[in-house]
Symmetry: C2
């Protein structure tokens, strides 16, 4: 076996579960014969009936020794799964391992629609097919580098922190995604919080919307938010209830190289200026250059995790 | 937090990776604008280009203390993911935890098409939509009980070992499945074996076909097979090469209550009779009654794991 033994660790326990979901009833669908296994017996499947859909999956890892702090819920971004937080593309420990090493219990989540959470039948329950993105698209969109418009060659930024030689491993992690499942995804995450009790959310990209909504709705359960390059700031009804959950937004480098990120960064700064609870950690401003969108995978990912850990301790969570 | 602390354990390390996959080139697809996050900037996505598809995901857990025996690769069945082997529906430790406790390294796998392995675009790469099955269908097909044809009521067998009160947790684990991906799934599993080196495969249901094919093709890598209720025995070219990988097929109870299982059990017995390397453990024959198709989830799942462990040690693997 060639596995790197990563970091030896002890756990008080580990396990997994599904939460949430809702019942749907399908009818009017044709009954069909399927051969479910080579050489097996044909199976007559009647797809009509009651299903549960939009449940979500989480694995939990209980640290030993236990630092006695709140657990972390790791919420991946668009087109990804919980694997985001595991071994990096170039084989280093991920944030899952690092925060366990620091004595935090960690919930590694697959959002509704992703990974071990499965997905609802299309088009019967979810009307549209999922969206796919090429690895080349990801290379530029995640600000790892540029693409030569003439040749299509992918050119990393000279100072990129992303482990470019292992880019194909990132490409292999990408999965299809839907764009119309936000309500179901948020419902799943809220069901998870009901089960875990008070926790810290560490979210990435697309999950920023879910984390901020969850925090605003349930400040009793969401005691802090670490938002790694949130793809957007949702419209929150802060007239009715203030946003006062301690929140750290972490931003990488090369923001100006992408069509969208400057506006998203502005929106983030507007949000931070409007709410005292929100801090921004802009990595280039503290001398950490070259970070891509994938802060948990970049070569300095554990140094960033250390900054995040310090901020959380400083906030008393 | 309400998690049961399952079993405290130590690990030499843990991690995850993707293996396998192949490149495909898509062309002629329309470019579209998508709103990828609420309140975010619209994104123009050109889906044409090179993709990697049919990769598979595995998590590895390295036991401490290490019993010095071959690692186990856990291969789930149809409509399921690696979660099969984790915490049981009623919150008990799963086979993942049990075999780590026994000092075996374990690879928890999501087959190609499932879980964190993702799935290829439909219909561009895989031509058909996946298949779905109702929980009611699963209840009878997995031989947990019967369904009253008049009322639809689900009635467990009086002696069922399945934790019926937690059946909804099993229903939440089920995910869509394809029926035309066998070649890709097997290729992914072979790529995994190339990476892990010599190992023992523990497979369930649909995965029986992949395990027996892999064992027949690569007896250097597959040193034993534990086949829990394999859904089928594939046609192997045993004229060219004998099937001589030590194999234990484990069968549960109530075989005669299902339309398919008696024939599948006959086929299994024919296979065992033809190959000295193949043993059958029929649980009712050793006084373990009431087991369903889900031997790793039934209430006596750890006793069954113990029998499997003993057999492996007896076989020297």
């Amino acid at each position: 076996m060639t596995e790197h033994a990563t970091v030896p660790l002890r756990l008080r326990g580990m396990g997994a579960f599904h939460v949430g979901g809702r019942d749907v009833e399908l009818s009017g669908l044709p009954v069909r014969e399927h051969l479910m296994a080579e050489g097996g017996q044909p199976v007559r499947i009647d797809p009509n009936g009651r299903y549960v859909v939009e449940q979500m999956y989480a694995q939990y890892f209980l640290a030993d020794p236990d630092a006695g702090r709140l657990p972390l819920l790791l919420w991946h971004g668009g087109g990804m799964t919980g694997a985001t937080w595991e071994t990096t593309p170039d084989g280093r420990p991920g944030w899952l391992h690092e925060f366990l090493r620091r004595g935090r219990d960690v919930y590694l989540c697959d959002a509704v629609e992703r990974g071990r959470s499965g997905f609802a039948p299309v088009p019967h329950v979810w009307p549209e097919a999922p969206v796919i993105q090429t690895p080349a698209d990801i290379f530029t969109r995640f600000r790892i580098g540029t693409r030569d418009p003439a040749t299509g060659a992918l050119c990393p930024f000279p100072d990129t922190q992303f482990p470019v030689a292992a880019f194909d491993a990132l490409a292999r992690q990408m999965v299809p995604r839907w764009t119309t499942t936000d309500a179901a995804v948020l419902a799943g995450y809220l069901a998870l919080l009901e089960r875990t009790g008070p926790a810290v959310i560490v979210c990435h990209s697309q999950a920023g919307v879910f984390a901020l909504r969850a925090a605003h709705a349930r400040p009793d359960l969401v005691r802090a938010v670490i938002a790694l390059e949130p793809a957007s700031i949702p419209m929150l009804d802060t007239a009715t209830r203030a946003y006062d959950v301690p929140t750290l937004v972490v931003l990488g480098d090369h923001i100006d190289t992408d069509a969208r990120w400057p506006r998203m960064a502005d929106r983030i700064r507007t949000f931070a200026n409007a709410h005292a609870a929100v801090d921004i950690l802009s990595l280039p401003d503290i001398g950490m250059h070259g970070n891509s969108h994938m802060l948990m995978m970049d070569r300095n990912s554990l140094a960033i995790a250390g900054r995040v850990s310090d901020w959380l301790i400083h906030k008393g969570v």
